[in-house]
């Protein structure tokens, strides 16, 4: 009788431990998912910061931006430039090296400068 009750206790304990192990494995898996997800978010934030930093570093002193609109695969810049050449050499060239497609429209201003709208696109590879 004593061994039977001991056996029953041991079997119950074994089952409980097994259930707890399964549950803990699930918890471990979930923590790993959370960590991976959070690291992804943190990395995206850091990359975003670096991208914006690089964008503003790219703009030469001679060119003044009035607006910058950043989308996932698109960058739209509004600003003024003393001449089309200044824009093309100092800003458009580096933008072309980053983006797949760049389109710029110029509008002459009364003071001889140009306001510009630059639309730049990244083409995502088709999955």
């Amino acid at each position: 009788m004593m061994y039977e009750s001991n056996m029953q206790e041991l079997l119950t304990k074994g089952e409980t431990l097994k259930e707890d192990i399964v549950s803990m494995h699930e918890d471990i898996a979930f923590i790993k998912i959370q960590r991976r997800h959070a690291e992804g978010i943190y990395t995206e934030n850091t990359v975003l910061k670096e991208s914006i930093h690089n964008l503003f570093d790219l703009v030469p002193e001679k060119i003044t931006l009035s607006q910058a609109l950043l989308k996932e695969d698109e960058l739209v810049l509004y600003g003024v430039t003393p001449s089309k050449e200044v824009y093309e050499f100092l800003l458009q060239a580096p933008l072309r090296s980053i983006f797949h497609r760049s389109y710029t429209s110029y509008y002459a201003m009364p003071n001889g400068w140009y306001s510009f709208v630059s639309k730049n696109y990244l083409d995502r590879p088709v999955q």
């Binding site: 061994y3 056996m7 549950s23 803990m24 918890d27 979930f30 960590r35 850091t46 009035s66």
Partner: protein, 186 residues
Amino acid sequence: MKFHISRQMIYILALAVVFLIIVFVFAFAFLIPSGKAYRVARLDTKKVAYQVDTIQAEYDKVYENLKSLQKENRHVISAYKSIFNPERFTKMYRPHFKSFTLSKLSAHSQDEEFAVYEVNTSSLIHSPQGFYDFLDGVNKSDNIIGVNFPIDFKRDGELIKSSFTMHVYIADPKQKREDQQVQVQE
């Protein structure tokens, strides 16, 4: 020589024989099989005890692993459980901006096992550095927050008006495992 066995002696002998028979029957019918069953049960119990010890060792190993993971990722775990508090968030990050306002938090989508809430922000900054500092700070905040496109910077006199959306990620409270995690914690 002639043995004389009294009637009384015969009774005693007969009783002794009967008693011996009873003892043997009892021993072979009950005691010996019980002893065998006892030894088998003791052996089985030892086997099961060994198996339980092995499971216990596995449990201890997994428990240690879980505890160390919980310790290492305490910030992330609590950040996924934290309820986003716009007032607290604004108070914490206002120093990076000239002005900083948040829209009302709204449910956005479900990203794997996380509920995603969206909040729109508009702010005024003196220089992009304020925005960089904000992005550094967001990665250390009480919630898991991703700053998302589109981001719009517009010149406003000497200041820059910026607007962007943020996604706040919260571990789905319906997850059963989350409750289990709390139970395991010391």
